[in-house]
């Protein structure tokens, strides 16, 4: 497991106050929303804000691709990496 994925999981738990959950409980490819971790749209905003802040990325509200970027921890990792590479 990459360090970045671990970092993302900690960020998720931290900013969303997910008590009783440890990074190990979140699978890299588990869906974050609805099923899986069961996050909702408010969580999505909160998470989006924190990801932007921490990794200095801009997220366009109208971008349909956001859904895919935030689908799972590995999707988020790929998204962040692609921005950091550029």
């Amino acid at each position: 497991m990459s360090d970045l994925a671990q970092e993302i999981k900690e960020l998720i738990i931290d900013c969303l106050d997910l008590e009783d959950i440890t990074p190990d409980d979140i699978g890299d490819d588990d869906p974050l929303f609805v099923d899986g971790l069961g996050l909702d749209s408010i969580d999505a905003l909160e998470l989006g804000m924190n990801i932007q802040k921490k990794y200095n990325i801009k997220l366009d509200a109208n971008d349909e691709a956001n859904k895919e970027h935030f689908a799972s921890v590995s999707a988020l990792r790929r998204f962040i990496e692609s921005h950091q590479a550029g």
Binding site: L16, D17, L18, D40, I42, A44, L45, E46, L47, G48, M49, I51, Q52, K53, K58, L59, D60, A61, N62, N66
Partner: protein, 559 residues
């Protein structure tokens, strides 16, 4: 456009003063057409002698006195036939300062299609009555052109572009005497000729002969203004479409159908609020008669307030509904005035502003929940003045940029921003977060439900029945992890706005386990605050739609 100017000087029995003026005109090096407007024989001979003396001076004589306008037009036609493109008109009696000629010519050269006019800076020697007369004329011209771009319409010290001016004279009848200067300028403006001004000094030489015959000329000027006002009404749609270079906020795409209000506002600017509020009576009367929906929703709302024991003088009837609509119109006028920066401290009482100042000093901003009850817009101008409280308003509008623009243009110090949240996302949240951390405030009206399906609505009890409220403002507040206030701005009977602010929540936390219930709780708390206000000031409820019907109405009209 080519630029070949000449001087045109109309002259009626002013040969003595002209002698001095000519010395100054010679310095310009320009050829001059002197039009003798039927002077008496002594003066006529004197003018002929002057023309013989100066080879750059050409004299044309009208056999009998026809009026200044005719003389100027004659001179302009002559100038055009001699191949000149521009005519600089200057009076013969010495009241225009020839030293300003180069400045006028320079302006004309820079913009050859424009009419360049001197704008008088009077010396202390102007007769009082004449000054007041001029002011009235200014007011009329402002009304006729629906614009303040004509700053002075009576000064006869001008550079005319000959082609458009002569084309206009072919088509329209223009007053030929003292009414000429004003009328030709207004008509040129209507035609689309830009009008530019150059400051100039005007003197009334002691002992000078002015041919301003008080009664006859005032009648002529009155007739002219009547013609022009009728012409303005005829051209109203085009003037408002802004084909002209008018710098005014109403010349923006969203001005749309409320031009009538804008006209009212112009009158307000000229005549003050008392007159305008009188004019509002028939206008709102018309609105009352033609707008069934507003009438019904008003009556329904007032009925609910009445049943809940609100501050109504009697059971809702037509008169009360009319008063309700009137207060809406009144709020619009106040809002326009506020945008203009005309309403300030003395029109507002800001209660417990200390709360916001302390909040600001803590280094963290806050969310301020507002509503469409009362006139929150009024706080905008005020916030600028009060020790730099920066208030950002969140609205669902695609016109946010435009509105900001309008406000800035009218009041460059306006310290607030309108932020569009029609597409709210993480990026918007981050922008707001940034503002909160800079100790700014974010105002959100939480009473209207936003347009579109995807927004989250939740029911809360309001005036005896459940109505749907937007969850968005409370979610935003929870994301920002900052204190929340409730704020209102209600017009008191004495005409002064009472701005009140009170703490709403230290934080809005939406716990993961009971998110829906938490949201519902906060929304009900807001609905309760709103109900208290509604009972206190029911006539300032400006949601003119069925509030309990549960459909999106963010785009309903507001003052």
């Amino acid at each position: 456009m080519a630029f070949r100017p000449c001087l045109v000087v109309p002259c009626y029995n002013h040969s003595r003063q002209l002698r001095d003026t000519l010395a100054a005109l010679a310095a310009t090096g320009l050829p001059c057409l002197l039009v003798d407007d039927g002077s008496d024989s002594d003066n006529a001979r004197a003018l002929e002698a002057l023309a013989d003396e100066h080879d750059w001076l050409e004299l044309a004589r009208l056999q009998r006195n026809r009026g200044k306008g005719v003389a100027v037009i004659h001179g302009m036609r002559l100038a055009a036939s001699r191949g000149y493109t521009h005519a600089l008109q200057i009076d013969a009696d010495g009241q225009h300062d020839p030293a300003d000629i180069p400045a006028l010519l320079e302006a004309a050269r820079a913009e050859p299609e424009a009419l360049i006019s001197g704008r008088p800076r009077y010396g202390d020697d102007i007769p009082r009555a004449r000054l007041y007369g001029r002011y009235l004329t200014h007011a009329m011209v402002w009304l006729q052109t629906l614009s303040f771009s004509i700053k002075d319409s009576m000064c006869g010290f001008r550079v005319y572009p000959l082609a458009p001016t002569l084309a206009l004279l072919e088509r329209s009848r223009v007053g030929r005497r003292m009414d000429f200067d004003t009328e030709i300028m207004v008509r040129l403006y209507w035609q689309g000729t830009p009008v530019r001004f150059v400051d100039t000094r005007v003197v009334y030489p002691p002992g000078g002969v002015s041919h301003f015959a008080v009664l006859a000329d005032n009648l002529r000027i009155t007739a002219m203004h009547t013609r022009l006002v009728l012409g303005m009404l005829w051209r109203l749609p085009r003037l408002l479409r802004g084909r002209h270079d008018v710098q005014h906020w109403s010349h923006q795409p969203e001005r749309g159908s409320w031009w009538a209000l804008w006209l009212v506002f112009q009158i307000y600017r000229l005549l003050g609020s008392r007159v305008i509020k009188l004019l509002l009576y028939p206008m709102i009367g018309y609105f009352f008669l033609t707008n069934r929906e507003a009438r019904q929703t008003s009556r329904d709302f007032l009925q609910r307030v009445h049943e809940q024991g609100g501050a109504l003088p009697r059971a809702p009837d037509n008169r009360l509904v009319y008063r309700h609509l009137y207060s809406f119109g009144d709020a619009i006028v106040d809002r326009l005035a506020c945008w203009q920066g005309r309403l300030r401290h003395e029109h507002m009482r800001f209660h417990n502003q200390r709360l916001l100042l302390d909040q600001r000093d803590s280094g963290q901003g806050a969310v301020i929940l507002t509503s469409h009850l009362g006139n929150m817009e009024m706080t905008r101008g005020l916030m600028t003045d009060i020790e730099f409280i920066k208030l950002n308003a969140l609205v669902y509008t695609r016109n946010a940029a435009h509105i900001n623009d309008i406000i800035r243009r009218n009041n460059p110090r306006a310290g607030s921003d309108i932020i569009d949240i029609a597409h709210f996302g993480p990026q918007t949240a981050l922008v707001l977060d940034e503002k909160i951390r800079r100790a700014e405030f974010i105002a959100i009206a939480a009473d209207r439900t936003p347009p579109g399906q995807q927004s989250r609505l939740m029911p809360a009890r309001f005036l005896g029945e459940e109505a749907l409220f937007p969850a968005g403002p409370f979610i935003v507040a929870s994301l920002l992890h900052c204190p929340v206030y409730f704020m209102s701005c209600i017009k008191h009977d004495d005409g002064i706005y009472d701005i009140e602010v009170k703490p709403f929540a230290e934080r809005i936390n939406l716990s993961r386990a009971r998110r829906e219930a938490d949201l519902a709780g906060w929304i009900q708390q807001y609905a309760d605050e709103l109900q208290q206000l509604a009972l206190r000031a029911p006539l300032q409820w400006f949601n003119f739609y069925d509030f309990w019907a549960g459909t999106g109405h963010e785009e309903a009209p507001e003052p």
